[in-house]
């Protein structure tokens, strides 16, 4: 079906507006052979539905068109699966004991070995 017609403008991922032409380009020019690399390169499956609509279609296209046998690695379905407003996530913060803080806070509790200079100016918080 897909091979028979030139449907390059067909929107495969409607959240991100990724077309069949863009997907083919990454498969044929960059040698993309996995669903997750396809997602990273074309943004297909990265939108609000997180691939619930297009992942099967992407599997089909990749299976038919990949230059090398497509990888069997399953599509990475990322939490929270359905969109969750920040407010609702934040409301649940109290109910979790782990983790007890961001990494630099955790790391700073760890005593550093060796000579403290010149590296030991207090590191700041964010990555």
């Amino acid at each position: 079906m897909i091979k028979k017609y030139d449907l390059g403008d067909l929107v495969v991922c409607r959240c991100e507006g990724t077309t069949l032409r863009q997907i083919r380009q990454y498969i044929h020019q960059d040698g993309v052979s996995s669903l997750n690399a396809l997602k990273k390169s074309t943004r297909a499956g990265m939108g609000v539905c997180q691939g619930r609509t297009c992942a099967r279609t992407l599997e089909l296209i990749l299976g038919e068109e990949a230059l090398v046998p497509a990888e069997t690695e399953p599509y990475h379905a990322r939490p929270p699966v359905r969109p969750v407003p920040l407010k609702n996530l934040a409301d649940g913060a109290e109910s979790f004991t782990e983790p007890d803080g961001p990494v630099s806070v955790v790391m700073l509790r760890r005593p550093l070995d060796g000579n403290p200079d010149p590296m030991s100016a207090p590191p700041e918080e964010e990555i």
Partner: protein
């Protein structure tokens, strides 16, 4: 397999930029990665994409200045859109007692040549509309910014390939082969690649590879978690940090608010799999709203984890290794390697061309750990 002057292990931002600059310098380079095209680089792919100078150790500032100068023209040079934006970053505080600490750092960074200043009260809130009224002051660096880590990493690898570098995907480095204290090959899942030089840039995976040459890298793997919201109209130009709260907030060109800041997830180094800690999502959502309350109704659509190598002193290991001729270490960036990645790659190429280690790398050599510490 075909031999190479230099085999680079790991096609993350460090390995890919090293491959690009080495190929550009005319060296015969092979870049290998255990994953497939576009999906390479464990930490680089997952990182929040901050390209900042500020809030680094002073010893790293020259490297950051050098690297960010490269970022300005890198997209053009690679003929790719890296989504690099140099719209500034401000590290904020809501605590009177922390303002002197920020001021002290700003003074120090100014003395190191950085364009940065303190911004207070009304001026700050005019500069960054939407901030919580509790925020009192911030260190504003107009030349900080952000880029798309997936695009940057794959564009560097693709440009390296155009310049003649060989890219080997699904090719896992198993061990370093040495003879009489000198590198002779890299043993991979696809056979040996004879070479005289190796750049080990495999992030958290570097530790087990280095161990095959009896080097003990003082690294431990740290899975870091990020999340992004649905696309929103453009509103926030700057990257925001919040002193002591572990948050970095930015709006990426695609429209989503990307929330990082170094919260832990769960990861398995053996198979590369990762899992999220729901508590990290919830606590960071809470922090985000404390900083920027208007984000409350915006939905988070995706969260993910990448495994980064944290060195025991949270600084990278860069440079050759005494006793193993031909091995160059470039790993353990401890969560602050993406921004300096292109700079590191260009200086590694300089090292291979001139044979001399540049001043900017000197603080980061493995010699900072005693000979006893670095031997298995």
């Amino acid at each position: 397999m075909k031999s190479a002057d230099v085999v680079i292990i790991g096609a993350g931002i460090i390995g890919a930029s090293s491959a690009y600059f080495l190929a550009k310098a005319g060296l015969d380079v092979t870049l290998i990665d255990s994953r497939g095209p576009i999906a390479t680089g464990g930490a680089s792919q997952a990182c929040a994409g901050g390209v900042r100078h500020q809030a680094r150790m002073p010893v790293e500032m020259p490297l950051a200045l050098h690297a960010i100068k490269l970022w300005k023209t890198l997209g053009e040079e690679l003929d790719a859109d890296l989504e690099y934006r140099q719209d500034g970053m401000t590290v904020l505080t809501d605590e009177e007692t922390l303002i002197p600490r920020l001021e002290e750092r700003v003074e120090l960074e100014r003395s190191l040549g950085l364009d940065i200043r303190m911004v207070y009260g009304k001026e700050l809130h005019d500069l960054i509309p939407g901030l919580s009224p509790r925020i009192l002051a911030g260190s504003h660096c107009p030349v900080d910014g952000h880029a798309n880590p997936m695009k940057a990493t794959s564009a560097l690898a693709a440009a390296a390939e155009r310049l003649g570098a060989r890219l080997k995907f699904h090719c896992q480095a198993r061990s370093l082969v040495t003879l009489k204290g000198r590198i002779t090959a890299v043993r991979t899942s696809k056979g040996d690649i004879p070479c005289r030089h190796v750049v080990l840039a495999a992030g958290a995976w570097s530790k087990t590879i280095a161990a095959t040459a009896e080097i003990d890298l003082p690294f431990h793997p740290f899975p870091l978690q990020m999340m992004v919201t649905s696309r929103q109209p453009h509103f926030l130009d700057q990257v925001l940090g919040w002193l002591g709260h572990g948050i970095s907030l930015k709006q990426v060109p695609a429209g989503g608010y990307l929330i990082g800041g170094g919260w832990p997830g769960i990861g398995d180094l053996l198979n590369g799999s990762t899992r999220l800690m729901p508590g990290a999502m919830a606590k960071r959502a809470e922090t985000s709203l404390d900083l920027f309350p208007s984000l409350a109704p915006i939905p988070v659509i995706r969260a993910w984890v990448g495994i980064e190598a944290f060195c025991v002193d949270e600084m990278q290991v860069l440079g050759p290794v005494p006793g193993i001729e031909g091995l160059f270490l470039a790993a353990g960036f401890s969560g602050h390697g993406f921004a300096i990645g292109p700079g590191v790659g260009s200086l590694i190429a300089d090292y291979f061309v001139t044979g001399a280690l540049c001043k900017m790398f000197e603080p980061f050599t493995i010699q900072r750990f005693s000979a006893q510490e670095r031997k298995i």
